[in-house]
């Protein structure tokens, strides 16, 4: 039995059904991200785990105990809110110690735990400061410490980094992961930023319009997306309409050019078939033994570490990503451009 189980969770507000049949089994110590666009139901699901929303149907079980009807102040799950929600009238130390204070813990224990937490988030000298005088990143760390101070069974984070600058976001997500690993605490992390989810999660739950699209590790989600939504939402994707030549052999045609896929296509009769391949899997130049296509260069964009070449292949746009090198010779617009890719690198949708 998993540590945290969500079984057939459904949530409807009046007319709108916001979460459909959500099922998740999380092991102890796992870091799971809910990833998806705004309105996909990820925050609602998180709030149901916290107890701020009641599921319309389904159960939530923590450590083999049914938690579905337990009020939020008795679940012992720590939550970090998107707006941090630090109590403005209390110092950092008092904020962190709040959970222990309402639990009636002795003063000495509270003081010691607060010090531990401050050390954990590297803000040892900030105990007496007030939230108004902290930066966004500091407030977020205090919110994290406050949630962790009560020794929660599960840690819940609702887009905690969305209000911060890009650089701080990267630093802090590493911090969060480090702390989570150090404490071994089961964590659910809600975000719409795929890079965030991919970089720090053990598993990712990709959601769309209240449904789970796929649950898997970063690598699984990225390289073997189960649905078109996942393939499109996570990472860049080329989608080319193709014509089927040989169903069993997995042979298709892009315009006049032949492409081998290592997929059988029987189950795809009657559907619009498209070839999916990531831009970074496409290599410039012609190579024997693999798929080769060519087209005319339309744009060349320097994205920093990556150079993206957009090519028109018989009316269809294709992006090819290459690692940047100082000695790189980029093709000019209008030139003819060959590129190749292994049959295993592509799949059909």
């Amino acid at each position: 039995m998993a540590y945290l189980e969500l079984v057939n969770i459904n949530k409807a507000f009046a007319e709108t059904h916001v979460v459909h049949d959500f099922n998740l089994s999380a092991q102890q110590g796992e870091f799971i991200s809910f990833l998806g666009p705004s309105g996909c139901g990820k925050t609602t699901t998180l709030r149901m785990v916290a107890g701020f929303e009641l599921p319309t149907s389904g159960t939530i079980t923590l450590d083999n105990k049914d938690m579905t009807q337990v009020p939020p102040n008795r679940r012992n799950v720590g939550m970090v809110f998107q707006s941090y929600a630090l109590f403005p009238n209390m110092s950092v130390a008092d904020n962190i110690g709040y959970g222990l204070r309402v639990a009636g813990k002795p003063r000495a224990e509270i003081v010691q735990r607060v010090e531990e937490m401050l050390a954990l988030i590297h803000l040892e000298e900030f105990g007496k400061r007030y939230p108004a005088r902290l930066s966004g990143g500091q407030q977020q760390r205090v919110a994290l410490a406050r949630a962790l101070a009560i020794h929660p069974h599960v840690l819940l984070l609702d887009e905690p980094l969305s209000a911060l600058d890009a650089k701080i976001r990267v630093e802090l997500r590493q911090e969060i992961r480090r702390i989570q690993r150090q404490l071994g605490i089961t964590t659910i992390y809600v975000t719409h930023d795929q890079e965030e989810a991919l970089s720090i999660s053990d598993r990712i739950v990709v959601m769309n319009e209240g449904h789970i699209e796929q649950i898997g590790t970063s690598s699984e989600i990225y390289n073997f997306p189960k649905t078109e939504f996942v393939a499109n939402f996570v990472g860049q994707l080329n989608l080319l309409p193709v014509e089927v030549i040989d169903l069993a052999g997995g042979l298709v045609k892009v315009g006049e050019q032949l492409v081998h896929t290592n997929q059988t296509l029987d189950h795809m009769n009657g559907h619009v078939i498209r070839l999916a391949v990531r831009p970074e899997e496409l290599n410039p130049g012609h190579r024997e033994g693999v798929n080769n296509l060519s087209g005319t260069v339309t744009t060349v964009t320097h994205l920093g570490p990556v150079v993206r070449i957009k090519v028109d292949v018989e009316g269809r746009p294709v992006s090819i990503d290459m690692f940047n090198e100082r000695k790189l010779q980029v093709p000019a617009v209008g030139e003819c451009f060959d590129f190749s890719f292994h049959p295993d690198a592509c799949w059909l949708l």
Binding site: N73, F81, F87, P88, N89, Y98, V102, P131, A132
Partner: protein, 312 residues
């Protein structure tokens, strides 16, 4: 030579014209200042100066001494303070809980709308019409008085008792109690109006964070909500106090001047009776203004504190 003088002259001319234009700019507001000066500042100052003069026009502090010696003055201030404090505390508590019901109490939407719009109306419904309304409701032959009087039981002994005959029980609308009840009609809506913005500023996430950390409703109010709200509550109470302290029309219309508030006393003084020394009247007026000024300053300071915390 000519170059140097030009360079030195022009900046000076510019700075001179800058100050000149600065002074000229204020001309547009001059009519306003003059109007206020003539019709507000001068009359008021005149009054305050009169507080420090005796009947011949010489400087004296005797009028102020009346505050400590004249029984009438002390009694008037006592009554005014008593009513103001009671109505601001009772009205404050009532208004606080009604505001709570409106903002956080999850009462039905129609109740909330009526309460909000009536608070706006009732806070403005004072003076003579309010007095009439309460006379019609709780006077000797008032609507509510009659209803209460008609609630009768036949006791075991066969005797009919009507326990809610309030006038029989000693209630009198034309007393301090009655005046207090009447004042409350505009006091508690004023509290509702003043404190609702602050209560709406309490973020939902604070309540959720408190619950999430294991706190119940009592913890939330004691540790988070009340500490954040207390400047606003105190400020609003001060406003209520000032509102009751300076009220005249309601008391006059209700009691005909028989209840001796400071405002009533000043009114009587204007008409020329009561005090032997008219300059004492000026001292009374000065005393009122000092108290009101303290209230307004206190309120402003507390308002700023509220805004600071609720902006986070």
């Amino acid at each position: 030579m000519a170059e140097i003088t030009a360079k030195t002259i022009i900046p000076k001319a510019l700075s001179r014209s800058r100050t000149a234009s600065q002074l000229k700019d204020w001309i547009g507001i001059l009519p306003f200042f003059l109007f206020i000066l003539i019709f507000l500042i001068v009359p008021s100052t005149n009054l305050f100066i009169g507080a420090f003069q005796d009947q011949q026009g010489n400087f004296t502090l005797a009028n102020l001494a009346a505050f400590l010696s004249d029984a009438y003055v002390l009694r008037a201030y006592g009554i005014s303070l008593e009513i103001s404090v009671i109505t601001s505390v009772v009205g404050g508590v009532m208004g606080f809980f009604v505001a709570y019901a409106i903002t956080m109490g999850k009462v039905p939407g129609w109740m909330r709308n009526i309460l909000m719009s009536f608070s706006g109306l009732a806070a403005n419904f004072g003076g003579v019409p309010l007095a009439f309304a309460f006379i019609a409701t709780l006077g000797h032959t008032g609507f509510l008085t009659a209803i209460l009087k008609s609630i009768c039981f036949t006791g075991a002994s066969g005797v009919q008792t009507c326990p809610f005959d309030i006038y029989q029980d000693g209630f009198n609308l034309y007393s301090i109690t009655g005046l207090t009840l009447t004042y409350l009609y505009f006091q508690f809506p004023l509290m509702v109006l003043t404190i609702t913005p602050a209560m709406e500023g309490l973020k939902r996430e604070w309540r959720e964070a408190s619950e999430n950390l294991g706190g119940n409703a009592a913890h939330f109010w004691w540790y988070v909500a009340l500490p954040i709200l207390w400047p606003s509550i105190l400020g609003a109470s001060i406003l209520l106090f000032a509102s009751a302290f300076g009220a005249y029309a309601t008391a006059q219309a209700l009691t005909g001047g028989t209840i001796y508030l400071v405002t009533i006393m000043i009114g009587a003084q204007i008409r020329g009776d009561v005090l032997n020394n008219p300059n004492e009247g000026y001292a009374l007026a000065l005393g009122m203004v000092v108290i009101m000024a303290i209230c307004i300053v206190g309120y402003t300071i507390l308002q700023r504190q509220t805004v600071r915390w609720l902006k986070l």
